[in-house]
Each structure stands twice: as structure tokens, then as C-alpha cells.
């Protein structure tokens, strides 16, 4: 297996990578994000959990502006999130995103999926892009599927390709929007293992998930959201053994005791 560096060498360098300040967003009358303040340090793994409709996916999608915000500010690596246009595209290239429904390009092979962004956005030559793509596909354990089309792969394989596609851009931060929610139970672990490896390598990650096991083992911090607000933030140990808010206690009692 080829070793591929996915995280920047300066992972140890401190500093805030993603900063959200009093972010608000409405969907019509629904106030989905209410005064969100959140700071993610370089190299930190933050897991966002909470009941359905609490705004955690929306929060994740605002960070690369797939959802616009009504007020507040978001900065990434010191730069405020630009409006539409070339600036925004450049920023998105630095922010990797993994979706619940994989969203691999259905008309392209696995290999083409992982090279497209490198060639068209990073302007790498095709050969170098393919080399890196193959190395990344090996790394996530789907190297043998490079010539296949997404529809020929299992859900778990598709999601691992999607992770490789995002990593190929050498992102500063990776966003995971419920990456295992659309998977059959036996495929969840293969995806989580790839994510855990990534966390160990020092990648900055924001993960929206229902996988409490992953939160316990890989997260530096758990952010609990309910009704569009951040209700509680704590280390995983503290959060799972001793939640402070009633809302979190109620949530954990519903998901942990059966």
C-alpha cells in the first residue's frame, strides 16, 4: 500500500481554521440556525450530533456555502467566505465535502471521479492526477475498482471513493454530512475506519453523524445541536458520561439505552 500524505505537514501549527460568528439562517419561517458561534482549530476533529431537524446538516453546508447565510460571518483560514464567483470556487477547492448520498459523478469512472477536480481546478497534468488518484483509492481500499462506474460499487465503496475524491484536492478541512446514514449496517464500519485513519493523520474534520461510537473514539470535541442552536460542547468523554443540559440528557437516553 502506498503512503500518501493527505494532511498538511504543519498539522501541529495551531490557530483557528474555521470560525463561525453569530450565524443565522432561515428557511422561510423556520429559524434553522440561531446565533451559531463555533471555532474549529487546525487539526481538530469536531463531531456534530443532535436530533433530526436540529440544523446540523445545514450548519455543515454553510461552511462551503452550499447554503447561504442570512447574517453573521464565516471565515476559513482567516479569509471570510466569498460570495459567488471565482473566489468562492477557489475556497471550495480547499474545503473537502462528503455527502450522505455519495454524489459520485454517475457518468464517470471511479478514477475519473477522483481526477476531475485535480485536472480542472488544480490544473495538474493528467498523469500526476491519475497517480495520486490511484494512490488515494488504494489508501481507502478501492484501488481495484478504479475503472468501474459508481453504480457498479456498493454504498460503502462509493462513499470511500467520495472521500478519496475530496482528499485529492488536498483540502485544509473536510466536511462530512452524515456520511454513513445512507449505508447498509455492514458497510458503515469500512467508511468509519477510513475516517478514523484520516483523523489520526491530523486532518481537520467536521463530522455530522449519528455514529456515537465514532464520536467517542475519534472526536476531540462533540457539539450538540437542537432546534437550530448549539446547546452543549464538550469532550466526548465528558459529553457521553456527564451531559450538562437536559436536552442532551434526553437525546442520549433515547439513543444509548437499547
Amino acid at each position: 500500500m502506498t503512503e500518501v500524505s493527505v494532511a498538511k505537514e504543519d498539522v501541529a501549527a495551531t490557530g483557528d481554521l474555521v470560525v463561525l460568528k453569530s450565524v443565522n439562517k432561515h428557511f422561510g419561517a423556520l429559524h434553522v440556525l440561531q446565533d451559531i458561534d463555533l471555532t474549529i482549530a487546525r487539526g481538530e476533529v469536531v463531531v456534530v450530533i443532535g436530533p433530526s431537524g436540529s440544523g446540523k446538516s445545514t450548519l455543515c453546508r454553510t461552511i462551503n456555502r452550499l447554503e447561504t447565510i442570512d447574517s453573521g460571518s464565516i471565515t476559513i483560514d482567516g479569509k471570510p467566505l466569498p460570495h459567488e464567483g471565482k473566489e468562492l470556487a477557489r475556497l471550495r477547492a480547499d474545503v473537502g465535502m462528503v455527502f450522505q448520498s455519495f454524489n459520485l459523478f454517475a457518468h464517470k469512472t471511479v478514477l475519473e471521479n477522483v481526477t476531475l477536480g485535480q485536472v480542472k481546478v488544480r490544473k495538474k497534468d493528467k498523469k500526476a492526477a491519475e497517480e495520486r488518484a490511484r494512490a488515494l483509492l488504494d489508501r481507502v481500499g478501492v484501488g481495484a475498482q478504479a475503472e468501474k462506474y459508481p453504480a457498479q460499487l456498493s454504498g460503502g465503496q462509493q462513499q470511500r471513493v467520495a472521500i478519496a475524491r475530496a482528499l485529492a484536492m488536498e483540502p485544509k478541512v473536510m466536511l462530512f454530512d452524515e456520511p454513513t446514514s445512507a449505508l447498509d449496517p455492514e458497510m458503515i464500519n469500512e467508511v468509519l475506519e477510513v475516517m478514523q485513519q484520516l483523523a489520526r493523520d491530523g486532518m481537520t474534520m467536521i463530522v455530522v453523524t449519528h455514529e456515537m461510537g465514532f464520536a467517542r473514539s475519534a472526536a476531540n470535541r462533540v457539539v450538540f445541536m437542537a432546534d437550530g442552536r448549539i446547546v452543549e460542547q464538550a469532550s466526548p468523554d465528558q459529553f457521553f458520561s456527564n451531559p450538562r443540559s437536559d436536552r442532551a440528557k434526553d437525546f442520549l437516553s433515547k439513543i444509548l439505552h437499547h
Binding site: L66, K86, G96, M97, F105, A106, G117, V121, A151, A166
Partner: protein, 225 residues
């Protein structure tokens, strides 16, 4: 029985159908390009472009083709002096004007077929492409349109068949294609039914294989999800 056909050699039956084929091919290529651009406008984030695309389609597809073709001759050529680069060659000038009219008209239908194809591409495909840092036009060219085209080959085949038959309207401005020759033959000969059958058969020969081929192609290229 078919003796009368030998009385016609400028154009001959095959020559006239050759003009029909040329009208069809040039108009098809032109309307595919212009129709795709219109579809891109209709899904673009710029309101002005969306407005133009919508207005164009709704105006042009509701005007009879005959009116458009006659306008290219009586309006564009005679009033505005548009000669399409051939001021002295009437044959070329009216051929090109007919192609222009056919492209303008057919593009509206191509646009709507492609736009319905764009709507079949799951929104997540475009989101993933944007998340990689691709620009709007790259998202459209590299991810959305290639999938949209594959899902609308069938509807586009319908448009192409309609276009092939619509080229007969070019006869109204004197382009020497099949329908003009048919009119001439009907005036001169006493075998109306036979003439009608010959030309009907000619068009079926052109359109039937097109339809069958594109149907096969559409199955072959279908995007598996």
C-alpha cells in the same frame, strides 16, 4: 410507371432530397448548439439570462414555422438587407436564410428537451461538483450536461425527425428541396398519388433509420444510477 421522373434533372429527385438532407444537417447542428446555449441560459444564476432564455423559447416556439421562414426572406433579406454572405447567389442566400430560420425555431424545442434532461440529473451531482471548486460553466459542461444529454436522446430524436419534415417549409422561399420539386411535379404530371407516395417514401427513408439509430444510442448511453 416512374418514367416521368426522368423529365426532372435540375434538380433531380435525388438532388432535391440531397438539399433536404443538407438543410436538415446544418439546421440540426446549429439548433443543437443554439438550443444548448439557451438551456444553459435558462438554468443560469443570472436573472437577465434566465429572462432572455424564457422569453425566447416562449415567443419562438409559438410562432408558426412558415411565418419565421417567410420573415427571413421578406423581413431579414428584403427589408434589412441580410444576405448571409451571398448577395449575388440567390440559391445560396435563400438556403442559408432557411437554415437560419430553422435553427431559430428548432432551438426552442432543443432547449426545452435539454432543460428537461437537466432536471433529471440529481441536484447532488451539481453540489458535489461545486464543492470540488468547479465554476458554474464547468459544472454544466463537465457534470450536468453530459448526463442530461444522455437522458434526452429520445426526445431529441423526435425534434430531429420533426426538423427533417419541417425543412419542407423552406419551399415557401424557393429553396429547391424535395417539397418544391414535389409541387412542380404535381403541377406538371397526372400521377398525383404516385408522386405523393414517392416523396412520402423518401422522407420515411430519411427519418426512420435516424429514429431507430438514436433509440439504440439512447439505450446504450443511458447513465446507470
Amino acid at each position: 410507371m416512374f418514367d416521368f421522373l426522368s423529365n426532372y434533372d435540375d434538380p433531380s429527385l435525388l438532388g432535391a432530397f440531397w438539399v433536404t438532407v443538407q438543410l436538415t444537417v446544418f439546421s440540426a447542428v446549429g439548433s443543437l448548439i443554439w438550443g444548448t446555449l439557451l438551456a444553459a441560459m435558462r438554468v443560469s444564476p443570472v436573472p437577465l439570462m434566465r429572462g432572455f432564455g424564457t422569453a425566447y423559447v416562449n415567443i419562438v416556439r409559438n410562432i408558426p414555422l412558415t411565418v419565421i421562414i417567410v420573415f427571413t426572406s421578406l423581413g431579414l433579406a428584403d427589408i434589412f438587407g441580410v444576405t448571409m454572405g451571398a448577395p449575388d447567389n440567390f440559391e445560396t442566400k435563400y438556403f442559408r436564410l432557411a437554415v437560419l430560420g430553422l435553427v431559430a425555431y428548432t432551438a426552442a424545442f432543443v432547449c426545452e428537451a435539454i432543460r428537461s434532461g437537466i432536471n433529471t440529473v440529481p441536484v447532488g451531482q451539481a453540489e458535489a461538483a461545486r464543492a470540488l471548486g468547479l465554476s458554474f460553466s464547468q459544472v454544466l459542461r463537465l457534470v450536468v450536461l453530459p448526463q442530461a444529454f444522455r437522458s434526452v436522446i429520445g426526445p431529441l430524436a423526435n425534434v430531429l425527425i420533426a426538423l427533417t419534415k419541417n425543412t419542407t417549409v423552406a419551399a415557401t422561399i424557393g429553396v429547391a428541396e424535395a417539397a418544391l420539386l414535389m409541387k412542380e411535379m404535381i403541377e406538371n404530371e397526372a400521377q398525383t398519388l404516385l408522386i405523393g407516395a414517392v416523396f412520402a417514401f423518401g422522407f420515411v427513408v430519411l427519418t426512420l433509420p435516424t429514429g431507430l439509430f438514436l433509440n439504440w444510442l439512447s439505450k446504450r448511453l443511458a447513465v446507470k444510477r
